[in-house]
Symmetry: C2
Subunit: 723 residues, 2 copies
């Protein structure tokens, strides 16, 4: 399309000068690493976990105001308490939710607990799943659906047990709890009971391995709380900010669960499971309780019944983000955003207060280096998000409100949700443009525990990387945490990191005490990170990443990492759907050719930058603008045809599990449907052939869109001296 | 929402220094004005009109290649021939379209002409309406529907004549021809005949006033060609670029006319009209032919019939944009785009070649000042768009391909479609941010005809401004021309200008020779602008606007013009729908409050800028970025609920007339539907009350979106030293 008559003998503004090296952190980097203290983090965590701080409560607001005052005292340039009026779901404490087992005369044989044993604190909510509608289901049938994944429901139905109209019971784990309820609703179940089977939360309990408080394993009375809303953000204002006066979708039109769901402990689940009838569950579906796992639908004793009673209430209430700002000296209109949600279901010593404690210490350290005269080139924003547990409500509403501004100005969003769930190794997910700064930063930070023989955090991280997935980092951001609206809606480079378990030792999804009352200060202090050195290490990493991104003249981002990701995306599509595509003459070669073009412009860009020194500020801005816009090219206004709100065409989540990241979500959404349609197990059985044709048309259309967004990236990264 | 703890004792980068004055053009401005020559424009027009140059023909490609070579010769930095593979509709020259009148035995009494009298040129297409489907309608009924506007069809139906299944005949004028066909299709007509009634195209013909070639009035054999597609851009690739390998919507799913339509002369229309029966048409509906205008549906003689035969063919063919680039010296990644479509239905001496001739001369003059060492700060792009007549196909596809790049980098798009349709006064429509530079530029240009007593173009323009609408400029960009995708899809500041008629003397919509074979060089040379001085004046204005926008350190844009527009928008909504809104307690006060906020941040911005001198380049870039992003805030990804492709929530078109501009199209789309629903004449009669409630919900939702986009503008324009 282009002509060769380009660039007639014009002066070359890029010059040909020596590289400036790759110290992205400067003395401020060394200073902030030295300034941060484990003891301070411990103090912060003690404060934060002194009470429960669920979103919408006075305790949460107290913590927001505390942070605000701290950050003002520290001397940040601007501190805001930013309220959004969102719909939250809370339990009715006067009338808590319960699951009952009743005998043939209707007498209650068993009633589920509303709180963990041996714990009581007014600030801790009784058991509930946020956004379960209120309702009561009384049923003589109960179906066991394993983890409640889509494929589990399919298997149940294929085995001849219909789910429609029936109550189901599913284990927590192996996916987002909201999707378990979503799947149940897709299969027309009447209600859902979720529980934490010890197979995932305390596997060796029968061998006498103790649980909390001496270990991190879940006691029998632990109840996982959590939200089951499957969309990010306030359900009454989809795509738009929940401001005063904002339009609200009428209640009946919000996309939230329509069937009641509740969470119980494994002690309580046992009471239901022993009373189930029907065939025995397949071997791989059985948990670790002392019971024969049965499928149902009938109960063991005729006339007995199960009653699920949910009394949650929904209301529109303010949730508060706290934003603290260090104004950039040269480019105040470029933002590096640190994010962490502040609210917690219980005491939140892992989720999220371990990270909040770190964030507080990081801000303090930033304040110290600012007091010595340092100021970053670009603006740094510290965000303490409200109502994160509900589905990133505070974050989503802020992204929606500031959408245009963030599109034009945001450099990166660095998210830590929970800092610690174990201390084996760092798990880091990030969009490709952040991979470089993460690697560089870990090399500058001491290893958290010298006794392990590692010198730097880089050594610890790289030498303990999982054998099963030898890549240091992945792109598996999913809708796990607050980063979701940043990359899904705006395409802002974003990262997520946490100290994790050794997956070769334990095959976890959730950590055992996740969202239970047992997630308290003591478990952190006595078991998980007694000297807070792992907190400190992740905090130093977080701090250095921000300094590098906010202060380096040229953004420390490597577009070659982008190329690698794009190639993996195509490899993955070929692996999963290559045969199906080939059968229909649908080709991905043109996408690979576009990636080749991207690689070419990206490497030209990189070598141009590598040859620069004494870069004038305006030229730096121009080069940075290219990098800053790159991942934003992936946003398509129309989104996936299956889920129009899924607007990032490269990074997204599975439509059946918000915790599962996928590349090319638009293509994969329609491919999944088309492949299903062509197979026997169509979502709407039987599939009319006409709708199958339309589904394969949608595949071709989405592959074209995928090509298009990569093409946009090529146009963005090519030399700006050419149009 | 914000806190008072802002901006602690920080140095003020904006400084407090003297204003730099308002010479946005420098010596380059004077030089380019002096360099441009009327005689050169005349030469260019003679070349361009030497043959017809319809899109998709070899003649059009010839002109594209000619421009490309010229621009290379002139020394532009980059020249590209940019092909898009779009679907075009052409007449079958072997088998041209016709309208027949047949008697009761089926014998042809009359057959419509396929070409104007006394003209023949192989390069000129026979009569056709592009994107009419091929088809043959043979009917014993014909309904007269005045101008074929929505309200005309309503009135016909209210008078008791059903349109469904019937052929209709309508006059050209008072709206976009494609919407006439769209309305006919909405009312389920079987086909459409359009003609140019002398009441609009030669009103005094009966008084002996001559027509072409001695005047610009339309002879009886003139046939208006044109496209009837009601979406901008290639219909097979909506929202995405028509590149090789792009996904194409299957033919049956494209949103194009489904009923045949054809265009005839008023000589030929007379033959049909005299043979119509039924009631006499209302007085205000009658045209100026010597006939009693009747409504139909029956013909005057029993058994007679009308046959409409359309043989158009559709095919995917390349259309070519020519892009010429002057690379900016300081900010090559900022684009000021000059646009003009190149293709024409016939010789195109007005549409568009009058402007193409001017554009060619402007590029030549730019080349001269470049040869003397001048180079603009920002990049200038000259665009000669392909397939503009079809519905801005070349433009739309380019905007779609470069969407991300244009969002991030485009400063303005300066469109001239046709330079001259008369020479009474300039008509200028522009988004508010361009009003300032237009005013400033006209002050620097000599008046086109000193004998009129005007010194500058400013004098001519301002003293001849229409009494009926005393505003110098309006925002009525509509989908009149190539600017449409720029402001509708991306929110790029854009302008449109043309030398026009005195509307107090003639009440035109189309100029009489519009899209007929008579639109040739002679009419321009002998009647409209014999010495090409009006061409020259608009060309100089166009050139200066670009120089000001591409070269001024701070963009010469005044956000106060934006405030004024926003206030007018609210006033208009209140005027048209105030009572309806009040009845339902729907309030616009919060929108006005947001406009107040906008005014505040905008005036702070302006006074900050006014106090600056010696602005460092990076600071200039930051301020310019705010201005450049401002009108882009109006884009909402979801678009109007009625027309999701209408994504600019402030500037748009009527859903019933693409030539009619409206402010707040999202709100007005749903308000129109809601108000109709609540009245007796619902689109789908009778309206179920439930759907009415939903329509008023949509009104509330869209008012919220309107508020939202203005709020985005506030966040964009506020001082960047605050987050």
């Amino acid at each position: 399309m282009t002509d060769s008559a380009l660039l007639h003998d014009l002066p070359d503004e890029f010059g040909r000068v020596k590289p400036s090296g790759n110290d992205y952190f400067g003395t401020a980097g060394d200073e902030i690493v030295a300034e941060m203290k484990a003891g301070k983090i411990e103090e912060n965590l003690r404060y934060l976990t002194s009470q429960g701080h669920m979103a919408g409560t006075k305790q949460d607001l107290e913590q927001a105001e505390y942070l605000k005052e701290e950050w003002q005292r520290i001397g940040l340039d601007q501190v805001m308490l930013q309220p959004y009026r969102v719909q939250l779901s809370h339990p009715d404490v006067e009338n808590p939710n319960k699951v009952y087992l009743l005998d043939e005369r209707g007498e209650v044989k068993f009633r589920s607990s509303i709180m963990e044993e041996g714990t009581y604190d007014e600030s801790i909510p009784p058991a509930f799943l946020a956004f379960s509608p209120a309702g009561s289901i009384h049923a003589e049938e109960l179906v066991y659906v394993n983890y409640g994944r889509y494929e589990d429901f399919l298997k149940v139905e294929e085995s001849g047990i219909k789910v429609a109209g029936r109550l189901v019971i599913a284990k927590f784990g192996r996916g987002f709890r909201g999707d378990k309820v979503h799947n149940a609703q897709r299969f027309n179940a009447s209600g859902v009971i979720l529980y934490t089977d010890p197979s995932d939360y305390h596997p060796d309990w029968q061998n006498g391995v103790p649980s909390y408080p001496t270990t991190f394993w879940l006691p029998g009375s632990g109840i996982q709380r959590g939200s089951i809303v499957w969309h990010d953000g306030d359900p009454t204002t989809p795509l738009y900010p929940a401001l005063d006066g904002s339009y609200r979708v009428p209640e009946q039109d919000t996309d939230v669960p329509r069937i009641p769901a509740h969470s119980i402990s494994y002690n309580d689940a046992l009471k239901l499971l022993v009373n189930m009838g029907g065939r025995e569950a397949p071997k791989e579906w059985r948990g670790a309780l002392n019971v024969t796992y049965k499928m149902g639908p009938e109960l063991a004793r005729k006339g007995w019944s199960v009653k699920l009673e949910v009394n949650n209430i929904k209301h529109i209430v303010p949730t508060y983000n706290v934003l603290g700002v260090i104004r950039g000296s040269e480019e105040p209109d470029r933002y590096v955003i640190y994010g962490n949600h502040r609210d917690s279901w219980t005491f939140g010593s892992c989720d999220p207060s371990s990270a909040t404690a770190v964030q507080m210490e990081m801000v303090r350290a930033y304040g110290r280096i600012m007091a010595e005269g340092w100021r970053p080139r670009r603006t740094i924003v510290f965000a303490s998000w409200g109502a994160g547990e509900y589905g990133f409500f505070g974050t989503t509403e802020m992204v929606e409100e500031y959408l245009e501004v963030l599109e034009a100005r945001a450099v990166a969003h660095l998210n830590v949700d929970l800092a610690i769930i174990h201390t084996y190794n760092l798990l880091i997910s990030a969009t490709p443009l952040l991979h470089k700064i993460i690697k560089e930063a870990t090399k500058r930070i001491p290893a958290p525990d010298p006794s392990l023989g590692f010198t730097t955090l880089w050594d610890h991280w790289t030498q303990r990387v999982r054998a099963a997935s030898p890549e240091l980092m992945d792109y598996n951001l999913a809708s796990l945490s607050e980063h979701s609206p940043f990359y899904q809606r705006v395409g802002i480079p974003t990262s997520y990191m946490v100290w994790e378990i050794n997956y070769e030792e334990y095959d976890w999804n959730d950590y055992p005490l996740y969202h239970t009352t047992f997630e308290d200060f003591d478990i952190m202090k006595n078991v998980l990170d007694p000297d807070f050195s792992y907190h400190l290490a992740i905090g130093r990493l977080w701090a250095l990443m921000g300094i590098g991104l906010a202060d380096a003249l040229i953004l420390p981002m490597d577009p070659a990492d982008e190329t690698a990701m794009l190639r993996k995306m195509v490899t993955g599509l070929r692996k999963d759907y290559g045969a199906e595509l080939e059968k229909r003459d649908i080709n991905l070669d043109h996408i690979e050719a576009e990636i080749d073009s991207f690689e070419e412009v990206a490497s030209t860009f990189s070598s141009t930058v590598a040859n620069l020194t004494d870069v004038p500020p305006l030229l730096a801005r121009q080069l940075n603008d290219q990098l800053m816009m790159l991942e934003k090219c992936y946003i398509d206004t129309e989104g996936s045809p299956v889920r129009p709100y899924m607007k990032n065409m490269i990074f997204g989540t599975s439509n059946f599990n918000q915790y599962e990241a996928i590349l090319a979500p638009g293509v994969r959404d329609v491919l999944w449907e088309a492949a299903k349609c062509s197979s026997s197990s169509c979502l709407t059985t039987p599939c009319p052939p006409a709708s199958c044709t339309a589904k394969w048309e949608a595949v071709k259309q989405q592959i074209s869109v995928l090509h298009y967004v990569i093409h946009s990236a090529v146009l963005t990264m090519k030399d700006i001296r050419q149009f």
